[in-house]
Symmetry: C2
Subunit: 124 residues, 2 copies
């Protein structure tokens, strides 16, 4: 299976952060029951738990900005590994927080879901 | 296959950075011909090219320090995904540089090799 993994990763991340910033309660479709997320050392499994965690984060408004995005094929089946570094701004804060995030994307029926998701704020 | 992926990831990263800091020309055994590395947007494939790149980096002394390390199982075959954030100090520099790195580890004959490796310095 040949896939332009760089374009796919860029497209996925644009969609992901756009949806996150607009309404993060709608991200559940991107995860499956066996998907895993580690959010600042909290380990979660399954679409429902992951979205519950994201929705519970203590901010109303959030805006992600990607600084770097790197992608690689992660198997012969079309899996794609993405690492993002970026900044996010919450609510009325003036100072952006830097973060790193890693996604492992799995092809399914012409689209992709997130099998692995690791998120960390980068403290200065 | 059951594996303590957190312990495995920690052990791998300790070994990797220890070897990197002592003599990075010896890291080739951890990669295979189809392994990929993205180093600050340069895409490399294969153990030889990866080690050549690492050896060519313009510093003599380097010391990595892990700040956060998160791991997840990345398949049913024992693959492990690791994301590290950390700091590194080169030569006689007084200020550490922050970095993010992602490893996709594949089990092989009782050990692991690196299929995917993505490295980025985090500029402030």
């Amino acid at each position: 299976m040949s896939v332009d993994f760089n374009a796919l990763a860029q497209q996925f991340c644009n969609f992901y952060y756009d949806q996150f910033d607009k309404d993060r309660s709608q991200l559940g479709n991107l995860y499956r029951d066996h998907s895993m997320m580690t959010f600042e050392s909290t380990q979660l499994q399954g679409s429902r738990n992951i979205v519950e965690k994201l929705v519970s984060l203590p901010f109303r408004k959030v805006a992600h900005r990607i600084s770097t995005l790197d992608a690689q094929p992660a198997s012969e089946n079309g899996d794609v590994l993405v690492m993002v570094t970026g900044e996010l701004l919450v609510d009325e804060e003036q100072n952006a927080q830097r973060y790193s995030q890693c996604f492992h994307l799995i092809p399914e029926s012409g689209s992709y879901f997130v099998l692995n998701d690791i998120f960390r704020l980068n403290y200065g």
